[in-house]
Symmetry: C2
Subunit: 348 residues, 2 copies
Amino acid sequence: MSGARYTPIRVEAGQRIVVLDQTRLPHDEVYVSISTVDALCEAIGCLRVRGAPLLGLAGMAGIAIAAERDDASDKSLQAAGARIAGTRSTAVDLGAGVQRAMEAVVGSALTGAERRRRLWTLAAAAVDEQAAIDERIAEAGAPLLERAGAVLTHCNTGALATGGRGTALAVIAAAHRCGWIERCYATETRPLLQGARLTTWELAQLGIPHALLSDSAAAGLLASGKVSAVVVGADRIAANGDVANKVGTLGLALAAKEFGVPFYVAAPRSTFDLACMDGSRIPIEFRPVDEVGGFGEQRWAPGAMDAYNPAFDVTPARFITALLTDRGVLRPPFGPAIDTAFGPPAGR
Amino acid sequence: MSGARYTPIRVEAGQRIVVLDQTRLPHDEVYVSISTVDALCEAIGCLRVRGAPLLGLAGMAGIAIAAERDDASDKSLQAAGARIAGTRSTAVDLGAGVQRAMEAVVGSALTGAERRRRLWTLAAAAVDEQAAIDERIAEAGAPLLERAGAVLTHCNTGALATGGRGTALAVIAAAHRCGWIERCYATETRPLLQGARLTTWELAQLGIPHALLSDSAAAGLLASGKVSAVVVGADRIAANGDVANKVGTLGLALAAKEFGVPFYVAAPRSTFDLACMDGSRIPIEFRPVDEVGGFGEQRWAPGAMDAYNPAFDVTPARFITALLTDRGVLRPPFGPAIDTAFGPPAGR
C-alpha cells in the first residue's frame, strides 16, 4: 500500500490541518488549509472531508484548532466539540474523535499552552495510528479474498476515507498485491458519486483494474456470477452487528445474499458503537433535496421538487458474512463476537 | 387521464412522424420531425424516442416512412425493418411493431401506393389502439392500489413511454384519481435518469404528489414501511413470467420481497414474448461506457475508464406479486396464467 502520492489529511501542529478537498476530485487535486472551527465545520458539512475514520481524525484535530483560537478552557472546548460533532449525525467516528480529544484535557489542571500542545500531539499521533489500524484490517481481511477474481465495492473506503490506508479498499488492495484480484467493480454511489469520483481515482492510483457501474446495475451483476465477494465499509456498527453505511449498502447486501455472494464489512474498532444495541437505534442523516435532482451545477430534474435523500441505510447483521476489523475477522453470531473482540457494551 | 397537453408521438400520414424529444425534458419541450429511416434509427438509438410500447409505434411508423422513400418492395422494406429492429436489442415491442407492419404488406400483391397507404393507416390506428390498451391496464391494475397511500416506481412508464396513457404510471394515475395515492416515489434511474427527468415531469402534469430518490435509496425506503406497493413496467416478459426491465428493477424486487411489499409489473400483451421460455433467454443490451461516467456533457469520473453498463436486468418471476395487463391481472404461477390470457407459446 506504499507510494500513495496524495495526503488526505496532514496535521501542522500549532497551526492548522491541511486536507485534500474531495469535492474537487478526480479532476483537480486541491488542498485546503483549515485553521478555524468554522472552516472545519464547513469542510465536513460539504464533504470536502468525509469517510468515517477520516472524520474521526478531523474531529480530534478540530479540538486542537479550537484550543489554538481561544483560552482552551473546558467550556470553550466543549462548545467547539458539540459544534463539530453535530455537523454529521450518523458517523460515530466524528463524535468519538472529538470525545477522545476532550477527554485528554477537559477537567485537567493543564494550562492553556499545555492543553494545546497535548491536543496537537494527540491529533498527529492519531493519523499514524489510523494507518496502523487500517493495515491490521487489510491483513485480517485479505485472506478472505484468496483467488476472488472480481470483487464489488460501494462508495469510497480508501485512504481518502480514513486518512490512513483505507478499510474495504485496503483489504481489496492487499488481496490485489497477493495476485488474487483481477478486477474491482465500483458502484458510482449516488447522489454524491464518491465511487465514480474517488474510488475509481484511488483504484487507478493503486494499479487495480476496475470498472464503474450505476448503483442499480449491482443486483444484476451479482446475479450474473461475475463477482465472488462484496466488500464495503461502515459508518456505524451496532453491538449486534447491524451496519449503517452509505445508502445503497442494504440493497447490495440483499442481492449478495440472494445470489450466494459473501458480503464483508471492513471497519476499525472506532466504528463500533457498543452502546447502540441494534441498527434501529442508529440516527440516519437526511441530506438536502437538491443533491438528488442533479449533480454540482447541473440540474436534470424539474426545479421545484421534493426528494427522499437519506445519506445512509442500515444493513441487518443477518445479511453480513463477516466483519473485517483491526482485531481480526468476526463471524456470526456477531453480538458475542463483537463482545469478545471489543469488550462488553458500555453500561452493562 | 385526460388533458395531457403533450404528444409523445403523432403520425402525419404520407409524410412523417413527429415525436417529443425525450432527451430534452424536463427543461425543454422540443418536437422532432422524422421522415427518414436514418433519422428514426438515430432517434431510437439516442433515446429521443424510448419506452417499450412507444418503440413499437415508432417501429410500425418506420416501415411506412421507409415505404414512402422508395419503391416499397418486399426487399427494401425488409432491409429497413432489420435496420430499425436492430437499434435496440432487448425491447421486444420494437421488433414486434416492425414485424406487424411488414406482415400487412410484404408478400402481398399490393402496389407501392397501396402499400404506403396501408402502412400509414396502420401506424395511425396503432397510436389510438395503444391508448385503449393502456386504459385497460390501468383499469385492471388500479384496484390493487386501493388505499395504497405511497407507492414506488422506477424509470419512466407514463404516456412518454407508450405513446398512449402509460403502463405502471397509468395504473398509479388511475388509483390516484380514486383518491388512493398520497405520494409516488420515483427512482432517478441512472444512468440516463428517466425517472428524474421524465417521471417527475409526468407526475407533475398529472397532479400526483411525488418525491425523487436515488436508486440506491429504494431498499432503505422499502425497509422503512413507508411504501405499500412497487409498480414498474417491463421491456420483455418471458413465457414463465420472468421480466426484463430497466436496470435496477431486480434490486427493487429483491427489497420488496424481503420487506413484504407487493411488487407489480404492468405491461401490454405486446411486451410478452411467448417464444422466450424464461429470462435467461432474453438478450441484454449493453450501452456505452461513457453513460456511467457522467451525464450529458458533465464528466465526474476519470476520463479513461471501463464501465459495466447493462440497460436492463432480469427479475425472476418468483419476486413478482402480479402482472397487470390489458387482459386482466395475472397471478402466480405465471406460466399457466400467461398461457390462459394470451394463448400457448408459439411453436408448441
